[in-house]
């Protein structure tokens, strides 16, 4: 009888930092909000302002890690334009359009589940659309990117 196999291989994997790619959409009204992304040790990305609607942030990321997004620069009194019936017709905001970790897209569904957003003086929600100054956090709580994707059931979209 064959002995059950538990380990498939003992190959040491190269220690290569993961690469995170985030595509943001900036709502431009009275300029833009600023965005700082840092991990536990250092700043990874900073944008004080932009006149571009679409911005790509790409940087190496050591795992496990917690990313902190600091969103500033919005004056709630002047940076949202409302119509006469109270609808938002122009706004200053930042939104995550898409994200991939080591080339594997992170689904929107998962982001809405794990991306904590805490606007100043408000409760924490799970959102990829940030229209208030505040902080967002994303926990990459696994040793490797592949494992993080698998543990979070984040799979490739096969219905393209």
């Amino acid at each position: 009888m064959q002995k059950p196999v538990n380990k498939l291989s003992n190959i040491a994997q190269p220690m290569i930092p993961s690469k995170l790619t985030i595509n943001f959409r900036f709502g431009l009204y009275n300029g833009s909000m600023s965005l700082r992304i840092s991990d536990k040790d250092k700043e990874l990305f900073y944008l004080s302002s932009t006149d571009k609607e679409l911005v790509c942030a790409e940087f190496p990321l050591e795992l496990p890690n917690i990313l902190v997004f600091e969103i500033e620069g919005k004056n709630p009194k002047t940076d949202t334009k409302l119509s006469s019936d109270g609808q938002v017709i122009a706004d200053k905001f930042i939104q995550i359009q898409s994200m991939s970790l080591d080339l594997i897209p992170v689904s929107e569904q998962l982001l809405f589940k794990i991306l904590k957003y805490t606007p100043a003086n408000q409760d924490t929600t799970f959102n990829t659309y940030w229209a208030f100054n505040g902080v967002a956090e994303l926990d990459f709580n696994e040793q490797t990117a592949v494992r993080w994707h698998l543990r979070n059931n984040n799979v490739f979209n096969l219905n393209v």
């Binding site: 190959i11 994997q13 080591d102 990117a145 592949v146 543990r151 799979v155 096969l158």
Partner: protein
């Protein structure tokens, strides 16, 4: 080394996959150095006795992730990426035999490109499309867009991979559907299996090609839509390759990778003569044996002498009967008669030639009466169970995109569902559930009442629909 050619998992086979070895030898004739890896067998063997084999297979086939198998899956991805990258070639060519490899290929490419973003990945093979005859290249386009692969090759790679590696990216078939078939199969070199470890294969058989395309024009078949012209290799060349591989590998059993072995009767007869002559003065263990697809012909072509030669050449035939109902069989494109089936069965039994019968269960034009006729046919032929008929393969009828059958759906009043196996002939109103019940009943009769061994595809049998229309 210039390129690593790899057969990507997962294909449910314990046989060698030919493509990497063939491409390696083709590239060598252009002074391009390649290493050929059959990663499929490595993974098949690695998970064979794994306690979480089914969970791992669920990932390969459906991308279902069982929490307890996460580390196993990661290890497989890491193992495969390490195996491929260890040769440090600037290009990796991934060969995908069937579409189920698409899921794993995505994950594998993501890992490889993370470790070495500079490496070029090109994918090819019949598995890069969901259905070989469909026009869309959805998987390839998505993989390119995500940066998982650089390029893809549609159709015969023997020409286009060479051109690709020479930097001729505009060659037909590279990143487009307009590929060029090979002009002459006889020009191909023999596959170079020197990088394969044949001790890994449970079935010690050497893949060999004798033809591409088919001489028939069966409406359900996608092979004829892909390789529109029948091409064959001569018996002399095939036999020369057999002798070469026996000398190289010490294995004398061959598995023909083609739609049919007896497409050209002149060459087929000649090949049998050569093998019979070779076998005549050797003990059984040194003789050549083979298996391959075979079409039924009438007694004028399939003489007693032919069957005797198939027996002496140690042939095992996979025979596409498809339907035992004459009307249905003729309509789908198999033009042999009931008497021809009986003639071939009788002679195969007489000469001890093992057969695997390939049947399509519940073909779109079959009626409930035809179902009854088929059940009775097996009862009437049970004398062949394990006495020439080694297996009966019962395949649930599917309508593959790009086939003549798919194009004739309106003519047959067929309404199609979400999967190729989900459809209804609106004139007959036999639902998918009824067809599935029939498949199960037929299998039961074939196995338990008649004593045949039978296999059905578990995956297709699981197909079901909640839509009452089907």
């Amino acid at each position: 080394m210039d390129v690593t050619i790899v057969a990507v998992p997962y294909v449910e086979t314990v046989e060698a996959i030919m493509a990497p070895a063939l491409l390696k030898s083709v590239l060598a004739t252009h002074n391009i150095r390649a290493v050929a890896i059959d990663l499929n067998i490595e993974i098949v063997n690695r998970i064979e006795h794994h306690p979480r084999k089914q969970q791992i297979l669920d990932f390969f086939f459906s991308q279902v992730i069982h929490p307890e198998a996460v580390e196993d899956i990661e290890e497989i991805i890491n193992y495969c990426s390490h195996r491929i990258l260890q040769y440090n070639t600037p290009t990796i060519a991934m060969s995908m035999l069937i579409y189920s490899g698409q899921i794993f290929t995505r994950w594998l490419c993501a890992r490889i490109k993370t470790i070495n973003p500079a490496v070029k990945i090109v994918v090819g093979g019949t598995g890069i499309k969901n259905f070989v005859a469909e026009d869309k290249s959805t998987f390839c386009e998505q993989a390119r867009q995500l940066g998982l692969i650089d390029d893809y090759i549609i159709g015969d790679g023997e020409l286009s991979l060479v051109e690709y590696l020479k930097g001729n990216y505009n060659y037909p078939g590279i990143n487009n559907n307009d590929w060029l078939p090979l002009a002459n199969l006889n020009d191909l070199p023999f596959p170079d299996y020197s990088d394969y470890d044949f001790s890994q294969y449970k079935d010690k058989e050497i893949p060999i090609n004798d033809s591409r395309g088919c001489i028939k024009n069966c409406e359900f078949c996608d092979v004829i839509e892909h390789w529109k012209k029948f091409q064959y290799r001569t018996a002399d060349i095939i036999f020369e390759e057999m002798l070469y591989q026996i000398d190289q590998l010490g294995i004398s059993y061959f598995s023909f990778r083609s739609a049919l072995t007896n497409g050209n009767m002149k060459e087929f007869n000649k090949l049998l003569d050569l093998i019979v002559d070779y076998n005549s003065n050797k003990p059984r263990e040194k003789q050549i044996g083979w298996n391959g697809y075979f079409i039924i012909r009438n007694a004028k072509f399939h003489t007693e002498d032919l069957w005797k030669k198939i027996s002496l050449s140690n042939g095992l035939l996979l025979v596409g009967v498809e339907s035992v109902v004459s009307r249905v069989r003729h309509q789908l494109g198999k033009t042999f008669e009931d008497d021809d089936i009986d003639h071939n069965l009788k002679l195969s039994q007489q000469y001890g030639v093992p057969l695997i019968l390939l049947m399509i269960v519940a073909y779109p034009t079959e009626t409930l009466q035809d179902f009854e006729y088929t059940k009775q046919w097996f009862r009437n032929h049970k004398q062949y169970a394990n006495n020439c008929v080694k297996f009966v393969n019962l395949s649930f009828a599917s309508i593959l995109p790009g086939t003549q059958l798919a194009r004739k759906s309106d003519e047959y009043s067929i309404k199609k569902g979400s999967l190729p196996s989900i459809w209804i002939n609106q004139n007959l109103s036999i639902t998918t559930k009824q067809r599935l019940d029939y498949l199960r009943e037929l299998r039961d009769i074939v196995v338990n009442e008649c004593g045949f061994n039978a296999e059905t595809s578990e995956q297709t049998i699981e197909h079901s629909t909640t839509d009452d229309t089907f």
